[in-house]
């Protein structure tokens, strides 16, 4: 919901937005009439895919960029053609601590 308010505000200010969120929050995207949304069939907290799954993360980003190019009306919601692939042994993203 928080990002929904931010997306609407940015879009209303004149800059296009695309939101990537997990399928479980699809009802929020509809209720808040967000401009452009990509829904991913992934567990919460992992909207771009599993840790280290660079291939899926790139596919999700590509779907978002495609939607920026193709959408002609607000409220456009699409499903990403990805699946969640857990168990990638060597995460190659940035490690963090805390």
């Amino acid at each position: 919901m928080s990002v929904g308010h931010v997306a609407r505000a940015i879009e209303e200010s004149g800059t296009p937005t695309v939101v990537v969120m997990v399928e479980a929050f699809g009802h929020v995207a509809e209720r808040m009439s967000l401009p452009r949304v990509v829904l991913t069939p992934h567990p919460m907290g992992r909207p771009f895919g599993a840790a280290g799954d660079i291939e899926t993360q790139r596919e999700v980003l590509d779907a978002a960029l495609d939607l920026l190019d193709r959408a002609t009306d607000g409220g456009t919601i699409i499903d990403a053609a990805t699946s969640f692939r857990p168990g990638v042994a060597e995460p190659r993203g940035r490690p963090t601590a805390h």
Partner: protein, 232 residues
Amino acid sequence: MTDANRESFEEFRKSFSYGTRNNLDFKFLKSMSDADAADVFERILAGLSTAYDTGDIDPLIRAAVESQIAGYAPKPGTAPAHAYDDAPFSPTPKPANGSVIGLVTSSGHFVDGNDPEPFGIPEMSQAEAVERIDQFLVEAPVLSAIPSHVPSDKLRVRHGGYNIASTLLDPNVCFPVDRLTDAVSDGRIAGVTDTVFSFPGATAQGRLRRELPAWLDRFSEEQADAFLLVPV
């Protein structure tokens, strides 16, 4: 076990939401009916049994994801909050491959040395953020500005509303700054803004909205052609 210590199924399912069995991946069990929560356990255990023999955990993962979808679905008879009839729309000024893209996430990332220090508490741990979730939900969020080329050992995350285990392994699961950088290298986009942004999305919605004019001013300094936004 005495009757006084006996735990009901309702108490059991609710214990996964900031309770004795806290698991933020399954906190939705709290708001399900006993029957629906029982179905979740039945499906997940069945998926596990299948995986023993086939090694295929896809059905298990799908059962968990579908359980989340059911768990977060609007409950009949509840008034929808923050509902809008109109969908704002600004046309993209140029194709993605000619655009500079900004990033805003509600994942709670920040840079080492620029800790937002919620409630004035320095070096708050993730465990304390979880314990203080009710306080986060009534306070205004703090927006963290993060250089898009932040050194990997300088990125931190804290958020009391979701399981950060995955993003600790790889921030790109919900803070896809490396994937945006890849997209620049691949010619898929023209650039990433110098600064990207994150805040903890578990926050007071009214207070968040009052912060937005200042946030928009900050975002506009980045001169992005479009923004990618990622909630958790």
